[in-house]
């Protein structure tokens, strides 16, 4: 019953907002840069032998003391900042999107089902959600990381760090999806068109995904956009607490965490370049998310 925008309408909407165009460009550039990091980065920050401490703390090339080999300078290990940021953004996006997908699938699925089925199942899901909410995200992540640490031999831990992080962050985000999906399902269940569909014997899955889900997308996209930001920031906080990604395979969050040590020391580029990249990326994704929401939900136009 709710058609998406036609292509021309979407383009028209897009043309109205230069901000969205700018955000789209930024997001596109950042994502492309991250995706193509192995091809375009000057060096491989994971290859320990490719950089040297002797080159450490070089300012960006355009400043005094800069070196043309390092366009945006080097960090305290002599690692090229351009390469570190591109590879870092790649990891941050992989983790952020992974965690988001994890949370969205789990949360929306459970939320729709709980709202629809109701009764004991609903109570169970909502109680699990309560337990989940009762554990702060940081603790959830510590718990997941701890259990992984306990179950896996210590040699295997590094290989599963990314899946563990995705699960840890995803687990702390699914409840918002579930509650929103459930609340809207509860509301929609009493709407005439849904009651009508039930009376007509339409399959519940069809009602859920065709009639109810599209109506819930608005608030869900709001949650998703804000959550992508929090997923990336949560990863940074976890790295800060020592359960995130290691410094030798850093995400943007890890780079910021490392850079924090240089907040006041004069080597501003180690902190502010990855931070600027992260903020630009997240803001762009969020602006894009708002735009997408307008496309998904004509009521907001």
């Amino acid at each position: 019953m709710r058609a998406f925008l036609s292509q021309s309408e979407a383009l028209h909407l897009l043309a109205r907002s230069p901000l969205v165009i700018a955000a789209a460009l930024v997001a596109l550039l950042a994502i492309a840069g991250a995706a193509l990091a192995p091809l375009i980065a000057p060096s491989d920050p994971y290859d320990l032998a490719s950089f040297s401490l002797v080159d450490g703390l070089r300012p960006p090339a355009f400043l005094e003391g800069g070196d043309t080999r390092f366009l945006l300078g080097t960090d305290d290990q002599g690692r090229d900042m351009v390469s570190a940021i591109l590879y870092g953004a790649r990891l941050s996006l992989v983790i952020g999107l992974g965690a988001l997908a994890f949370a969205a699938i789990l949360g929306i699925g459970l939320g729709l089902a709980a709202g629809w089925i109701g009764g004991r199942f609903d109570a169970l899901v909502m109680r699990i959600a309560d337990v989940q909410l009762a554990l702060p995200a940081i603790l959830t992540a510590l718990l997941v990381d701890g259990i992984a640490r306990g179950l896996l031999p210590s040699g295997a831990r590094d290989e599963v760090r990314i899946p563990v992080l995705v699960a840890a962050i995803g687990l702390s985000l699914w409840v918002d999806f579930a509650r929103t999906a459930r609340a809207s399902t509860l509301r929609a269940k009493n709407e005439d068109y849904v009651q009508a569909a039930i009376a007509m014997g339409v399959h519940p899955a069809r009602i859920l995904f065709v009639e109810i889900l599209p109506n819930v997308l608005g608030p869900l996209v709001v949650i998703a956009t804000v959550d992508l930001a929090s997923a990336i920031l949560l990863e940074a906080t976890l790295s800060f607490l020592g359960v995130g990604l290691p410094a030798d395979a850093p995400s943007l969050g890890t780079l910021i965490r490392i850079g924090m040590q240089f907040l006041l020391s004069g080597e501003w580029w180690i902190l502010w370049l990855p931070t600027a990249f992260l903020v630009a990326l997240v803001v762009a994704i969020n602006v894009m998310g708002d735009f997408l929401r307008e496309i998904f939900d004509p009521r907001l136009r």
Partner: protein, 540 residues
Amino acid sequence: MTRSRPFSARLARGGISAIALSLALSLALSLPLAGPAAAETFRWATTTDPQTMDPHAVNAAPVTSFLNNVYEGLVRRDAEMAIEPSLATSWAPLEGEDGWRFTLREGVTFHDGSAFTADDVLFSYERAASEESDVRSWFAPVTEVRVVDDRTIDFVTSAPNPLFPDSIANFLIMDRGWAEANDAARPARDAENFATRNTNGTGPFRLAARDPGIETRLAPFDGWWDEARHNVTEAIYTPIGNPATGLAALLSGEIDMISPIPLQDVAQVEGREGFRVLEGLETRVIMLGFGHDRETLKYGADAGAPNPFLDPRVRRAVALAIDVETIDRIIMRGKAEPASQLLPAGLSGYSEANDAPLGFDEAAARALLAEAGHPDGFSFGLMCTNDRYINDEAVCRAVASMLARVGIDAELTVMPVRNYWEELRADNFDMYLLGWSPGTFDAEHPIRFLAATPNEETRVGSWNFGGWSNTRVDELLPLVQQELDPAARQAMLDEIAAILQEEVAYVPLYVEPLIWAAKANIDLVQRPDNFFMLRWVRVN
């Protein structure tokens, strides 16, 4: 490599010189006592709150350092770490048996006014050597303590123990009457007791208010036996865990002194009017250790392969591959000092004969690896902390990068210290980072803990995680412990230092720097053990 300077001179590089410091001290001494006319409130911060006010419950630097302002020992350390009289005025070896006789100071009172006697020392010994105490290992050599009279007490030891007086500088004396009346005759083990949050010492300051983890206030003790050099009328301590917040608190003037500040922020503080940085060297040596006692590697792509670190040539190659000077310049901002032994130059028992570090030589490292049968290198696991030593994680990453350049691939695992010792005790490493600060400020200490073959019975080698073992070192250790003649003792210590260097049992990297920052109007003394003594503070 430069010859080592005496420790006292080295401790005062940079910000403040030892000469100026002693001048300031003597000036302070010659002045008439400032009197209570001007209220001089002094506020300071460190990263970790002392977890208890009980001097025998926890053997941890934040506690011992803090409580040395409130409680006192029989002996104490002066600004240059030398032992000087405190509650004991003199001490001498016992005649006819092994041990020491201490003559106690007259006219000393505790903060509550009760008199200090030999019985309080006996009580404190019983308390500190009890099962509940965390410092009982200090008294392992003691077999008996006898009160001779009110002013005299004997500590009998199982063997000659020339360093005993030095080893009890942090053995703090508590009042028997006060402790027993308040049901605190033993340190709290499970639950707190009265002594956890209250004190009754003889020291220059008494506890005025205690809000654990938030704020602790000290007030000067008017009845202190020693002449007060400080002019502090109230001292307020706050723990600030976040280094940037601590620095902000100093720069905004809310606190007068902070320890430590991050190395990279030294320039920022020095560049500001009204602040200064105090730089010195701590007594802690940062080093790399190996898994000596296992046949195979545990981590990395070559897990399960024969352990290459069993070959001293490989260990030497590791040492040669690490460019300590560059680590010092970039990561430690030139504030550290390359080390060649398990303790810093200048401490008692340091081996001048083995002063030179191995140096940095990539080509030689590669040649040694090839000679040892690893021309293409190998892969192994390096364990490291990220919150224990200054810039520890950055140092480990640099080490991994430097080793990669000679072809050996260190798979780095970094963790907070809360998990670290457990992992090391479970042998979960091929190579690891360790910092060691000799508690007795003597060369025997690291040998006992790090170089002796681990032995549960004799309690030696308890921090020798890699299980390095050398019969000659094991043979020499008890002799060192009992030798009274300094020259003969030094000869044995030199021999051990030579063996450790030749065998590359550990790879000593550098001596950790000690960086404090204060307002320019504060006079204070930075002792190499990182203890902050209020009795030397003057607010100008």
